[in-house]
Symmetry: C2
Subunit: 362 residues, 2 copies
């Protein structure tokens, strides 16, 4: 039997920290991996060439937003997401569940799915475990995510338990739908999503039950949504302990340097976050130690240094802080572009250093 196009290779391990490689039909990505987010099939303000130059190997797009516009069917007709957005490397799409629950508007969840109003035009939409996979099959990313129920971080225990159980039922349905299509041999892997809030017992149950479903990879959702760092660490450990060691582990929505360091040390392999590009557009850049530099501040007006000494990103090789401050104050588009390039590159540098440490090289 042929080796699947989707495969997680565990290359090295140091304590819980893992060094791996994930194989897809559009190439591999090294783990621990950080994936920047292109919500509408574009990283905001950056060309694929610029994204690639940051060291990025995997990008994320949001199937919810793309389903609302321009529509998954349209993207399929135009040749799929890789061709549409001109990214020939691996792509992951989320299921839209997080957006449905977080973007507000009227959301009604039942046992079979979610009904909600579009934040764009008020039209009514329905998501089910099968429909979100169908959208993602039309979009054509390498990795699709199941529909999950992600309650607010401060939801009551019975709401968390309810969401966790619903998420598991939906995961089983999704697994069956995917298997019915021929599974990941048909060119698309599907990852399950662990829920359970900050309760380690729910997290352990969720992870164990998902592990039995034999997904191509496992996401940890519903963290970094307001709980304390300590709560997050405990919940994360409970998930990791019960997830299979030979599958990739993906912590959704995390992108601050200290969280990436903590979560990789706990055994997580993959992350995505809008932070580096959102910070960039808000004229905020990562400094050498991961602190944030607010470029509109007058302190940078005459600063001839790059954002980070020795940083090899296009922005730091090319410009001084005084220029970036000038662009930020003048509200020039280029400010957000250059700071986004730096911020993504900064996180990719951090991931490279974490991978070296996992190899025992640092």
């Amino acid at each position: 039997m042929a080796v699947s196009a989707f495969r997680f290779e565990l290359l090295a391990q140091r304590g819980a920290l893992r060094r791996g490689r994930f194989h897809t039909p559009h190439g591999t990505f090294e783990t621990p991996c950080f994936a920047p987010v292109g919500t509408y099939a574009a990283l905001k303000g950056l060309t694929p060439e610029q994204v690639r130059a940051t060291g990025t190997e995997l990008v994320l797009a949001n199937s919810y937003h793309l389903h609302v516009r321009p529509g998954a069917e349209r993207i399929e007709r135009l040749g799929g997401l890789h061709r549409f957005m001109a990214w020939d490397g691996p792509i992951l799409t989320d299921s839209g569940g997080y957006q449905v629950f977080s973007l507000g508007g009227k959301v009604k969840v039942d046992d079979d799915g979610v009904t909600f109003q579009s934040v764009i035009d008020g039209s009514t939409h329905r998501c089910t475990p099968a429909s979100v996979l169908a959208f993602q099959r039309q979009l054509g990313p390498d990795i699709a995510m199941v529909l999950d129920h992600c309650p607010p971080g401060d939801a009551a225990p019975d709401v968390q338990r309810d969401a966790h159980e619903r998420t598991l039922r939906w995961a089983r349905q999704a697994r069956d739908v995917h298997a019915g299509w021929g599974g990941s041999d048909r060119g698309q892997a599907v990852f399950g999503i662990c829920q359970g809030g900050a309760d380690p017992e729910l997290r352990a149950q969720s992870a164990s039950a998902l592990a039995a479903l034999d997904f191509d990879g496992y996401a940890i959702g519903g963290l970094s949504v307001g709980e304390t760092k300590q709560q997050m660490a405990v919940a994360l450990d409970a998930c990791v302990e019960h997830l299979p060691a030979d599958r990739i582990r993906y912590m959704m929505g995390v992108g601050m340097p200290e969280d990436l360091l903590a979560a990789t040390a706990a055994g997580v392999d993959l992350f995505d976050c809008v932070i580096p590009t959102r910070h960039g557009r808000n004229h905020t850049a990562f400094g050498a130690a991961g602190e944030v530099l607010k470029l509109r501040n007058a302190q940078f007006a005459d600063d001839p240094r790059p954002l980070v000494e020795g940083c090899a990103c296009y922005c730091c090789r090319t410009y001084c802080r005084a220029y970036l401050r000038h662009l930020a104050v003048a509200d020039e588009m280029l400010a957000g572009i250059l700071l986004s390039i730096h911020n993504v590159h900064f996180l990719q540098d951090l991931m490279r250093s974490i991978r070296r440490r996992a190899e025992g090289a640092a």
Copy 2:
């Protein structure tokens, strides 16, 4: 005696159409040449790498805007405009005269200069022929422009005559200031500016008087400000006839394909305009015949073709119209960036074809 770093070589001529090369301390640019505009020392949304890839050799920046912020002194302290904006090719700055007269606010012109209020903070500023050259000397572009008085296109004949005479007096003062600094051997060329509205007699007087002042090049200002194409052509011919054949001729603020074709055929060598980047940000692109495509239109929603078949720009090599339409509708920054790249590349392609024609090759 050493050859000046600034030199216009006339390489070929076909009728009035000229093929040339202008030498500066930061390299040469081929003429006829189109220079895109980076008002605040940045082409809006484009990196210098992206600008260079369009075939652009010369860029323009606005000394008025840069004087207001971040300030010419600051840019000088930081190593000058080339280093500040990371453009190592030739740069031209305008004098700010056009902005002073066109951006509104309280403007008071007298024989010695202009007093005006900043549109940014309401502060009062004063420009004189000497001060605008001093600002530009601090900024450090290869080519600086003299202060001129550019009245509205529909100004009365006596206003036009008055502005023309004042512009000539200021040009003489600017010439003396520049000569006092050691002239263009000190690293910066200065171009005079011909005014006179749509009156061919005033234009001829203006061009003849400026020619006697022996500038490094000659700009034609105050056209494309509302007059008819026929009026523009007559005024342009009157200027060209009286400008020295061995100096570069620069028509300011022109960038529509049909105007570039007409003006190069009349003997103009150099142009600048914000149109390609402004159109791009407004989701408008040049089509194959120079017509404008409005990318938000629904007609492009499923269009799998590039903007222009055979166009070698990054946008056309990489994306279909349907993707660009999607980005435009979603108000993604990347829409304006990609369309700006295409539009600048389109005009550079047009200039290349005009240069080939001037060489007799087409």
